[in-house]
């Protein structure tokens, strides 16, 4: 029980990162290709988020495996800017389609923002909890 409690942050971060990585391809992907097979900008935003999602999942695994050690603290802190940058990929770093009623605007963009924000907040809380534990154990 205690083991699960100390790894709760890592478990949540792992689930959220997996949700982002799998979701961007299966649940909330960008718009489909044109009739001629060419892709719109939003497709490349989807690809970039997928790549970022893989990185976040890997780092969240480190957080999960190392529990409340210094490695876990460092990995949690690293996830904060990564998640923030992921949230900015659609529409800021890579522009989306011009019509806001298209799938990339109505589903993909908000889903990426919400999950990335949740990852950043969870990583921040997890880092704070680890720091507090370290201080108490001194």
């Amino acid at each position: 029980m205690n083991n699960i409690k100390s790894r709760a942050g890592g478990i949540i971060l792992f689930i959220l990162s997996i949700a982002l990585t799998v979701g961007i391809k299966l649940i909330f992907p960008a718009c489909g290709p044109h009739d001629d097979g060419s892709f719109m900008n939003c497709h490349w935003a989807e690809q970039a988020v997928f790549g970022s999602g893989i990185a976040l999942t890997t780092v969240s695994l480190i957080v999960l495996i190392f529990g409340s050690s210094k490695v876990s603290l460092g990995a949690s802190l690293a996830m904060i800017p990564t998640a923030a940058v992921t949230a900015l990929i659609p529409d800021v770093f890579i522009p989306l389609c011009r019509m806001p009623m298209m799938r990339c605007h109505t589903i993909m963009h908000p889903a990426v923002i919400v999950i990335s924000c949740l990852i950043a907040v969870t990583a921040l809380v997890n880092a704070a909890v680890i720091i507090r534990k370290k201080e108490r154990s001194k």
Binding site: C31, G32, H34, D35, M40, P95, L96, C97, R98, M99, P100, M101, M102, H105, T106, I107, H109, P110, A111, I113, V114, C117
Partner: protein, 401 residues
């Protein structure tokens, strides 16, 4: 004394599962307020914007179009579609009495814009007679609408000075309209000459899906502003009686359908919110009552140790307040995380005018949600607090309760 050192906070920490469950319950209650009120307010704002956006008192369309199922969506909301009537009807309507302003529009549905795979509604209008589009221009380059100049709805991600391509024709964006919360926000307005050019290009590309029409000889819809000294109904009856093969509608009557849907949706949201709140309040009341009953001996010891009735009562209420305040803030944040990023999806799935209210309205609604949810939680513990403050410590500790 720090909050984390208070007895209430230690009680909460001592029962993490119960505290978490009550926090989640309060969060659901607060989220239901935020989602419900922001949705209803957005629908009302959208309807208001649609009413003022239409601008005309009467709309005249071909009689055949009036029987089309999606006719109102095309005229009111800018959904993709088209119908035409001979331009002579425009002259016939203009000759009738009581008409202060009259302007015609021509609907085209584009195959797609260069940016997107979704068709747009292109509306041809006459800038000289227009009184419904121009008042909504938010930003423009100024000057007259020339050949290949277009005015775009607010939701199109193109800006004044950009170009947008239809049927391989590059058009200049010279103005952008204010948001209405309807499909009109994705419509593109232009003059007759540009429409002709687009039709020619669509014919060359073999992409013409709106027949071979001549914009000089046909119109889709005639918009009328009735003179102040004439009742709208009188002019409407006159048009329906004397201009054959057309159908005239009062715009207010057309909006009543949208308004009825809005009342229906608001009613359902209200019922759901009431159900969530009723259930939540009952569970909170029972949870606090049971919790206090379980801890009667603990409170009796506190009484014997010298704690006043008021102190014990305050401990119970503040425990409830800490839990419900935390839940309310989390629930409000969750509600905002649903409503703000996903408003486009909500708008699309509802099919009703949906326009998020101004930021200050949302802030007030969130603040109200936090206060109401936290207060409701604290109030539901008031009965338990009153009971526990009246307990007889001696009887409780002897086990004769």
């Amino acid at each position: 004394m720090k909050l984390t050192e208070s007895l209430s906070f230690k009680n909460i920490k001592g029962r993490p599962a119960r505290s978490l469950a009550l926090t989640i319950l309060t969060a659901i209650m607060a989220a239901s307020i935020v989602v419900g009120t922001v949705t209803v307010t957005s629908l009302k704002t959208g309807l208001g914007a649609l009413e003022s956006r239409l601008g005309a008192d009467i709309m005249v369309v071909p009689a055949s179009a009036a029987s089309k199922k999606n006719f109102e969506n095309i005229v009111l909301q800018g959904s993709k579609g088209y119908f035409y009537m001979d331009r002579t009807y425009y002259d016939k309507v203009a000759e009738r009495e009581g008409i202060e302003k009259i302007s015609a529009q021509l609907f085209l549905a584009s195959a797609s814009a260069g940016c997107c795979s979704v068709p747009l509604q292109i509306i041809g209008y006459d800038p000289e007679t227009d009184f419904t589009v121009s008042p909504w221009i938010r930003k423009s380059t100024g000057g007259e609408l020339g050949l290949l100049d277009v005015v775009v709805g607010n939701d199109l991600s193109v800006f004044v000075g950009d170009t947008i391509t239809f049927y391989n024709v590059r058009c200049n964006v010279v103005a952008k309209l204010d948001k209405t919360g309807t499909d009109l926000d994705t419509a593109v307005y232009t003059n007759t000459d540009t429409i002709k050019r687009l039709i020619e290009s669509s014919l060359e590309l073999g992409m013409n899906d709106f027949r071979d029409i001549d914009p000089d000889k046909v119109v889709s819809c005639i918009l009328i502003k009735v003179a102040d000294d004439h009742p709208v109904d009188e002019v409407l009856n006159d048009l329906n009686l004397h201009v054959r093969r057309t159908k005239s509608f009062k715009t207010k009557d057309m909006i009543s359908g949208v308004s009825d849907s809005l009342i229906g949706v608001s009613g359902i949201i209200g019922i759901l919110m009431c159900a969530v709140w009723l259930l939540g309040l009952v569970i909170l009341f029972l949870a606090f009552t049971l919790s206090v009953n379980e801890r009667r001996k603990e409170f009796a010891v506190l009484r014997i140790a010298g704690a006043s009735r008021r102190k014990i009562s305050r401990t119970v209420v503040s425990e409830a307040l800490i839990i419900t305040l935390g839940g309310s803030i989390a629930g409000t944040a969750a509600g905002l995380l649903i409503m703000l990023p996903f408003n486009g999806l909500i708008e699309e799935s509802m099919g009703l005018p949906f326009l998020l209210p101004e930021a200050w309205v949302i802030i007030v609604l969130c603040f109200a949600a936090i206060v109401v949810s936290a207060a409701a939680g604290a109030a539901s513990s008031a009965y338990s607090a009153h009971r526990v403050s009246r307990l007889d410590a001696g009887l409780v500790l002897r086990g004769d309760n």
